[in-house]
């Protein structure tokens, strides 16, 4: 990577310039250069074909549709009061402005005017109330349901105003509301159809193959810089790569292995962009059971593993080392990679102090898909060097969910955690890994009840420092987020935050 990754992500190798720079430069030179050069260098009615491995199960994000629905629909078909921008910032969308009462328990949102649903109905406060209540309802399977628990009531004094009353302070409310799609309150059959306010409306969904979106002419905001967007779904990465090579897709949203990248990096017709992801690979111990209830043991294991080697093995020159659960895109990121850095000698010493001079044995439950098995073998080899014997038990994703996530029947497990802002899981002693430090629980609670984001950031930084010092889990690395596209396409988001993929800004050259 050689220091190339800064800010929101840069374009690598195949194209040494930032896409925006190219566009700007092209516009500039287009105006200056002699000859028949168009002022606009892209086709405003182009169809953008996006290749993805994540087909949604259905079209409703409160009905267990999977991450694919966020990719296709967030801010493309549905909008929320706020959105999590590609930079990680929370920006207002359908909420024009909002006020918070002094006690932090009443939020008053003023809605954008002139917003229309795809069915033609205007957006009113009743739609917002309906939409939030859909997510918090008993039937909802939304993963963010818990975060919206503080909402006590929603009032709609007039069509443009929504008043949300909370039972306790929740500084993340705007952030959490970015997960709540605003849906027309008369809409039905939302698992197969849609009625949102986004720049695109659903044209056609062919299950198992593609999801076609077309520009919504009544859109209230900035018009998309393309005409249609088609998400093409693949079940296999090689087929997806070939589709890009042969031109049947323009973009791959998220490349899952560095080794298929070579063919694009060496080819001038493609652009390889690396952004920031929120997906972390971690070895989570069951902190309830011996010997993992002992901080010294956990610290020793953290020091025994050279994370940079496994990152290199799995991702080549991509990816980032992390020292805790918080990725650099979060405001409460602190560089903790030096905490319990690789040091096998001190790992051995710590094990002796903890009462295991001859090491011990334990089993790592390992999901059966890449990169878990190879990472598990690496850990097995590394830990053997300090006398700790590891057995690997390969399990399926379903087994992981029932055995580990629900039954907590494990010693240690490897797992990738994709969620954004998931440090809060360490504040829940009932979570699968059973980490229970009252100080952290309290700090995370205080952070949520904070009056300013600064206060929230300070508290979460402190919590972050403690979980790292406690070696609550062994954070191995942060995945890279790699988007590959045809050279003619630009303006797509490079960061894979919350698996979103905003299509509105994508431009395709003529």
């Amino acid at each position: 990577m050689s220091g190339l990754t800064t800010g929101a992500g840069v374009i690598l190798k195949g194209n040494r310039l930032n896409a925006r720079t190219i566009t700007a430069a092209a516009l500039l030179f287009g105006a200056l250069a002699a000859g028949p050069v168009r002022a606009q260098d892209f086709d405003a009615d182009a169809t953008i074909n996006i290749g993805s491995l994540y087909e949604p199960q259905n079209l409703d994000n409160t009905a267990g549709a999977g991450q694919g629905i966020n990719e296709a629909f967030n801010n493309n078909v549905y909008e929320a009061l706020f959105r999590l921008a590609d930079s990680g910032a929370v920006e207002p969308v359908l909420a024009k402005s909002y006020k918070v009462s002094d006690d932090g328990l009443t939020y008053t949102f003023t809605l954008q005017s002139g917003v229309k649903f795809h069915s033609g109905d205007p957006l009113t406060s009743k739609d917002v109330k309906f939409s939030i209540e859909r997510v918090t309802s008993a039937e909802s399977k939304s993963s963010r349901k818990n975060s919206l628990k503080p909402i006590a009531s929603i009032e709609t004094p007039d069509d443009a105003t929504v008043v949300v009353k909370l039972s306790s302070r929740s500084i993340s409310l705007p952030y959490n509301l970015s997960y709540v799609w605003i849906i027309n309150d008369t809409a039905t059959n939302l698992t197969a159809t849609e009625d949102g306010t986004g720049p695109y409306e659903l044209e056609d969904w062919r299950r198992g193959s593609s999801l076609a979106l077309t520009r919504f002419d009544g859109y209230w905001g900035t018009k998309p810089s393309n005409g249609d967007v088609v998400f093409q779904y693949f079940t296999e990465a090689t087929a997806l790569n070939n589709a890009l090579l042969t031109g049947s897709v323009d973009i791959i949203t998220s490349v899952q292995s560095p080794d298929s990248l070579k063919q694009f990096q060496t080819n001038k017709d493609f652009t390889v962009a690396e952004g920031k992801s929120t997906t972390k690979l971690l070895l989570a111990y069951n902190d309830r059971v011996a010997p993992f209830d002992n901080v010294k043991v956990r610290k020793a294991l953290a020091r025994a593993v050279d994370d940079s080697k496994v990152l290199k093995a799995v991702w080549g020159d991509y990816g980032t080392l992390i020292g805790s659960m918080v990725p650099p895109t979060d405001p409460w990121y602190v560089d903790l990679t030096k905490t319990d850095a690789y040091d096998p000698a001190s790992a051995k010493a710590l094990l002796s102090e903890a009462g295991y001079p001859n090491g011990f044995s334990f089993t790592i439950d390992t999901p059966n898909y890449d990169p878990h098995p190879i990472a598990a073998q690496f850990l097995q080899t590394e830990l053997a060097k300090v006398g700790v014997k590891v057995s690997i038990n390969v399990i399926t994703a379903n087994e992981w969910y029932s055995k580990i996530y629900k039954a907590h029947d494990f010693q240690a497990t490897l797992q990738e955690h994709v969620n954004h802002r998931d440090i809060v899981f360490y504040g829940n002693p009932d979570f699968y890994w059973g980490y229970n430090n009252p100080k952290v629980v309290d700090l995370i609670k205080q952070a949520e009840a904070g009056t300013t984001t600064d206060e929230q950031t300070t508290k979460l930084k402190e919590a972050n420092q403690i979980i790292a010092d406690d070696a609550a889990s062994n954070w191995i690395y942060l995945y890279p987020q790699i988007v590959v596209s045809a050279k003619s396409v630009s303006g797509y988001p490079v960061n894979g935050l919350n698996s979103q993929f905003f299509a509105g800004g994508i431009k395709k050259a003529d």
Binding site: G316, D370, Q380
Partner: protein, 285 residues
């Protein structure tokens, strides 16, 4: 009688007319030798990260290295041992269960025979791999042992059906009746008449089952249902090399060659056995 011909062919050192048998025996023997040698020696420690990431084949690393920098040649050698262990284990289990059930069916009353035959047909209708997956999934975690048992049970149905048919054919012979009249017990009939008459055909079939077992083990390991890591099964090596097939194709080719060569070797061996055991074929050549 067919059995005596094979025995003669082997024991009297008569020049074998089956070159397929020779080639097959050499290939399988080579794998056996390599597999056994890994018990005492390998070029590198199989878990040692002795090279860089995805190195190409060189004198230091004859088959290159994997993503963790482990020597692939070492892993493939160990893979021979695992493949042969599973093959032999599965054939022993499949043979014991299959021959026993087959003989019982052959001797049983019509009703029991029909039931067993129908049961075997149902079992055979299941793809071997699916059956093995069901057995592995219902046991406590995948291991080399569960893979052997699963593949063995899946194979036993085919062996049982064949044994049943072969034994029935022998049982219909007049000399069996004669033997029974002269006071031979049923067990005696099995040992004196049936097994000697059917074992050449069974042996060929078991050899083919061996090849299928090796493939089934590789498939199970490929799916993550075989021996858990770090057991270097060829199927798992193939699976791990899948993602890097563009940048390091040899990582997938090398275990592929090993697997194909062993299976071809076994099939040649089985072919050769049949040539030697089958009188109609021998007369032609």
């Amino acid at each position: 009688m067919t059995d005596m011909d094979l025995v003669n062919a082997v024991s009297e050192g008569r020049p074998r007319r089956s070159w397929t048998f020779t080639i097959g025996a050499v290939i399988v023997g080579l794998h056996l030798l390599v597999g056994l040698s890994t018990l005492f020696w390998t070029p590198y420690d199989p878990s040692a990260m002795s090279g860089g990431r995805l190195e190409v084949p060189s004198f230091e690393h004859l088959a290159g290295t994997d993503r963790l920098g482990r020597d692939l040649f070492t892993l493939i050698m160990i893979g021979s041992r695992i493949a042969l262990t599973v093959g032999i284990g599965a054939v022993i289990i499949g043979g014991l269960i299959g021959i026993t059930i087959g003989l019982i069916a052959a001797f049983a009353s019509k009703t029991l025979d029909d039931m067993l035959a129908a049961g075997l047909d149902i079992l055979i209708a299941f793809p071997t791999l699916l059956l093995a997956m069901l057995i592995v999934a219902s046991s406590e975690g995948a291991s080399l042992g569960t893979a052997i048992i699963a593949i063995g049970i899946a194979n036993s149905a085919i062996v049982a059906r064949l044994t049943r048919i072969l034994a029935k054919r022998v049982l219909a012979m007049d000399y069996i009746t004669a033997s029974r009249i002269s006071g031979t017990t049923w067990l005696g009939v099995v040992i004196i008449h049936i097994l000697p008459n059917i074992w050449p055909t069974l042996l060929v079939n078991l050899a083919l089952q061996f090849g299928l077992a090796v493939i089934a083990e590789a498939s199970l390991s490929y799916l993550g249902l075989g021996a858990p890591p770090p057991n270097a099964s060829w199927g798992r090596l193939l699976q791990e090399a899948q993602g890097t097939v563009y940048s390091a194709p040899f990582g997938a080719i090398a275990p592929g060659i090993a697997l194909v060569s062993l299976v071809i070797g076994i099939n040649l061996l089985a072919d050769g056995l049949r040539d030697i055991a089958d009188p109609t074929r021998r007369r032609r050549s």
